[in-house]
Symmetry: C2
Subunit: 125 residues, 2 copies
Amino acid sequence: MAAPEAVVRLGENFAAFDDLWTPKIVGQINDMQLKAVKVRGEFVWHVHDDTDEFFLVRSGSMTIQMKGRPDAVLGPNEFFIVPKGIEHRPVAEEECEVLLLEPAGLVNTGDVSPGNMTAPNGDWI
Amino acid sequence: MAAPEAVVRLGENFAAFDDLWTPKIVGQINDMQLKAVKVRGEFVWHVHDDTDEFFLVRSGSMTIQMKGRPDAVLGPNEFFIVPKGIEHRPVAEEECEVLLLEPAGLVNTGDVSPGNMTAPNGDWI
């Protein structure tokens, strides 16, 4: 699907799926994609060597653990940018709705792909 | 100021300024910057020939008028991406809080810069 040239209502996007850790593309700005994802539990430790990764919490809360750095604890309307090259692991005790911003084509599990938590890439919602 | 490697609380960012039509940088992801802006009234018609521009409404509502296309009417948690090369003008009857995503260094008034509504570029908040 091409980028929709329409108003995107995020409430409708998030209401349209239930699966965890599987980012859905909701928009593309130049070569960057905005993705909606629901998370709960622990992801895998991984790194993106070539890109920063943006996490904005919409509802719930999550923690981004990083090697050698303090945790980033995020609640609603709070964001954190994991710099490229930093090994990290998102975790959430309860279900949490998150917006991601990252380059088109980025694989969610980075350097540990493919793996159990590698999601399909390129699905729009 | 360099990109803050800290959790960003958008409520605090928006509470920290009152001026209209003057985007403040709140984060940088690779070469893209996320900016907070408050708008009310009519902006100027302009175009960005080389980049898409992302508008996400946080509170209030705004309309993005475009030449030759239907208006995009945005409420809270709704976004629209103006494709590069499309002449557009944001307008808002009441004050509206907006997140922008665009390349670092982009001038807000595009091809009609400098002008009365050209804002300083590069200010973080």
